[in-house]
């Protein structure tokens, strides 16, 4: 630490002695140089690995590009095909929206429930917090998706448990009516990160409010509706937006559980999985880029919509 500060001082002294023409850049460098140097890894990552590829993909979305030959400009043809002549796009949209609509509310409700339970002064809270957070750390991984496949397979653990109660469970992952539910349950199981944020939000609510409420005779249930929920709306809003964006981008579980096919009968054909199939399965990188930009647009619209409606239900303290 000391060494860094020393250098900064010396740099500053040297720069000030410079003539005026160089002076502006030199003084900017002197003032912020160290900061930019520290930022450099992130800057390289942002421009090289995020912004650069994003711009390239915008260009590619107007081309026909098979990954091997040079891209060929086709104008809006890719977007026209998406809008008019791609039944799989429509199928992928349906599956993805269904997944978002099912998984986000269930996950948030479950996360809030667990957060409230943990907030009530459980002994060994930190241990529980860590345990409950664990699925979120593991959840996106291939290993968990494989495990899920085993659990929900026709003769997997879930059906063995059901059999104890005399219920013959279906083959969850390989029946088009149920496969999406296994993915929703997998998503809800990864409730850790919204839970931690809810927990932090709950801790912000002043306890004297509850005390006042109970003096007035309000029951727990009423306290929850009148105090907890309204005061928690900014946190709910944040979690909802973040989880919705995440749900739109979900890929790994569907990829593993369907073996990359999106089957049975496209019932797990997540939008990103279809995008991946087009890009790397069918060598249509230009078309896949157009699909990616449509997804960006959809997520942007959803987020904007959330922000616009938020003023009617999100309450901020002054």
């Amino acid at each position: 630490m000391a060494a860094v500060q020393d250098t900064a001082v010396v740099v500053g002294a040297g720069a000030k002695a410079r003539p005026a023409a160089q002076g502006r850049w030199a003084s900017i460098w002197a003032k912020h140089g160290a900061g930019y140097m520290f930022l450099l890894p992130w800057l390289i990552g942002f421009f090289g690995l995020t912004l650069g590829p994003a711009i390239a993909s915008l260009y590619l979305s107007f081309t026909s590009f098979d990954l091997i030959r040079a891209p060929e400009w086709v104008g809006a043809a890719n977007y026209v095909r998406i809008a008019t002549a791609d039944p799989k796009f429509a199928a992928a949209m349906r599956v993805t929206f269904l997944y978002v609509v099912l998984s986000v509310p269930f996950k948030l409700a479950f996360a809030l429930l667990v957060a409230i339970l943990l907030d009530r002064g459980v002994r060994g809270l930190t241990v529980y917090r860590a345990i409950f957070y664990l699925p979120s750390l593991l959840g996106g991984s291939v290993a968990i998706a494989v495990l899920w496949r085993q659990l929900f397979a026709g003769d997997g653990l879930i059906n063995s448990l059901l059999a104890q109660f005399g219920i013959e469970g279906p083959s969850w992952i390989s029946h088009p009516n149920y496969s999406i539910w296994t993915l929703v349950v997998l998503s809800v199981w990864q409730f850790g990160s919204p839970m931690i944020i809810f927990l932090a939000g709950l801790r912000q609510i002043p306890t004297d409010m509850y005390e006042a409420a109970s003096l007035d005779g309000a029951l727990k249930f009423r306290q929850f509706y009148k105090i907890t929920l309204p005061l928690l709306t900014p946190v709910i809003f944040f979690n909802a937006v973040v989880q919705t964006i995440d749900a739109f981008k979900a890929f790994t579980p569907a990829f593993i559980i369907s073996g990359g096919t999106g089957g049975p009968i496209n019932s797990t054909l997540f939008y990103t999985l279809y995008l991946y199939q087009e890009a790397f399965g069918n060598f249509r990188m230009g078309y896949a880029s157009a699909l990616a930009w449509i997804l960006v647009l959809i997520i942007a619209l959803f987020t904007a919509f959330s922000f616009l409606t938020s003023r009617y239900w999100v309450h901020y303290d002054d």
Binding site: V10, V11, G14, A15, D66, L67, I68, R69, A153, G154, D155, P170, S171, I173, S174, H175, P176, S258, G259, G260, T261, G263, P264, I265, N266, Y276, Q277, F280, G281, N282, F283, M285
Partner: protein, 428 residues
């Protein structure tokens, strides 16, 4: 002033590092480097790496760097490497993709090495032609295989059902399936796998009807009524419980581990002859190969000897001749052949087959006997599938599932399939 000096020295140091980084590989690259990429199991990797060691011993000063992946991860990786100008020198290539890669200029034509570096005169000429696209040679076949039915002999015995023979018809097979299911010797066990979504099986059935999957100029070569009859046949088998129900078949990701046979759900599965080694490795019961059922007693067989896979050389390779030399070693050296066995199919070279025969184990011999014993069941090699064939295969699977789960009837299935495949092929 300290600042300037320090910056300069930092710059100088950086420049030195950069130049070192730029020139260092060259200093080491006195030996020739060869990069290989293939798909397959650990067994295949071990065999391949041993052959590479052998090649290095025979050609001192060559460094070989081999990588392998599973089938579904392989193609994205290869496509990305080719796009990035970083393709491996020697590429394992499939019959399904060779046209796409060759026509896009990713593979080096090998014709100029024939006779000099590549000594494949004693290959079956049909198989040489199989590796050609637009009149140029882009792939050397690593072995021949044929589509086959994997049969669990123990499950057949338990149910008291005779094993299928080369003259078994689809009607016979359906009856066998029903008997095994009815015998109920194992819990939740069925006679047959549902093959309605398995493209090589459909192809075999179509060939018996004098049709094919694709024409030589890359169009669909069967009609909606063919598709409808195909789906109707399987629909009946599902209704009769000759084959597994839809939700069990849907577990199959079309690899050895997830096939109904390996999952312990059915007594048959549809695969390729060189996969017998892999099937037996994960199944306790004895597995044998059987040719596919016939549409009628006097029908011609629909089989053909297919190049199981090729080795191709990248068009961007810095030393394509060395690549060709490696490929030649792989398919012609007798020691290499003993290491490789028939895991990649039956060797194409007659002399290698002879050298190999005495050292084969039972499984290897069974695979070899199967491919060489097809006799009248085997016909001509069809032209390589056109680009879009991979997508067409997924379409067959999806339509077959829609019929199996009752979303379409067999007739609608046939129409949907033909429409989708036609569209896919027209997009290319």
């Amino acid at each position: 002033m300290t600042h300037r000096i320090s910056r300069r020295s930092v710059l100088a140091g950086g420049a030195a590092l950069l130049s070192y980084a730029a020139f260092a590989p060259r200093a080491f690259s006195e030996e020739a480097r060869l990069r290989l990429l293939w798909w397959g199991s650990q067994t295949r990797a071990d065999r391949t790496n041993k052959v590479s060691e052998l090649f290095k011993t025979a050609n001192p000063g060559v460094a070989i760097n081999g990588e392998f992946l599973g089938w579904s991860d392989y193609w994205p990786r290869l496509a990305t490497q080719v796009a990035g100008g970083n393709a491996p020198d020697v590429i394992q290539m499939d019959y399904r993709y060779i046209v796409e890669y060759a026509q896009r200029g990713a593979l080096a034509p090998l014709d100029s090495y024939l006779g000099s570096v590549l000594k494949v005169e004693d290959f079956d000429q049909v198989q040489i032609k199989g590796g050609s696209v637009d009149g140029k040679l882009y792939g050397i076949s690593l072995g021949a295989n044929s589509t086959a039915m994997m049969v669990n002999t123990v499950a057949f015995e338990e149910a008291g059902v005779d094993l299928p023979t080369p003259s078994t018809t689809w009607d016979d097979l359906a009856r066998m399936g029903i008997e095994i299911t009815k015998a109920g010797k194992r819990k939740g066990y069925y006679g047959l796998s549902d093959g309605s979504g398995v493209e090589p099986l459909l192809e075999n059935w179509l060939r018996q009807r004098g049709k094919a999957l694709f024409t030589a100029d890359g169009k669909i070569a069967y009609g909606a009524n063919d598709g409808a009859e195909w789906f109707a046949m399987w629909q009946k088998m599902r209704e009769d419980k000759a084959c597994v129900p839809a939700d069990i078949q849907a577990l199959d990701q079309f690899n050895i581990e997830t096939s109904p046979l390996s999952l312990g759900k059915a007594a048959t599965s549809y695969a390729h002859s060189n996969q017998l080694v892999g099937y037996q490795a994960i199944n306790k019961d004895k597995i044998v190969l059987s040719s596919h059922a016939l549409i009628s007693k006097d029908a011609k067989g629909g089989h053909y000897r297919k190049p199981s896979m090729f080795f191709s050389v990248s068009a961007k390779s810095s030393d394509p001749e060395l690549g060709a030399k490696y490929v030649n070693f792989f398919v012609k050296d007798p020691e290499a052949a003993k290491i490789l066995g028939v895991e990649r199919g039956v060797p194409e070279s007659a002399s290698v087959r002879e050298a190999l025969a005495p050292s084969l184990d039972d499984l290897g011999r069974a695979a070899l006997d199967y491919v060489s014993g097809l006799g009248a069941l085997a016909g001509d090699l069809p032209p390589p599938p056109p680009s879009g064939a991979g997508e067409a295969e997924l379409a067959l699977r999806s339509v077959a599932e829609q019929v199996a789960f009752g979303q379409l009837d067999a007739k609608q299935g046939g129409e949907t399939l033909v429409n989708e495949v036609t569209q896919i092929l027209s997009r290319g």
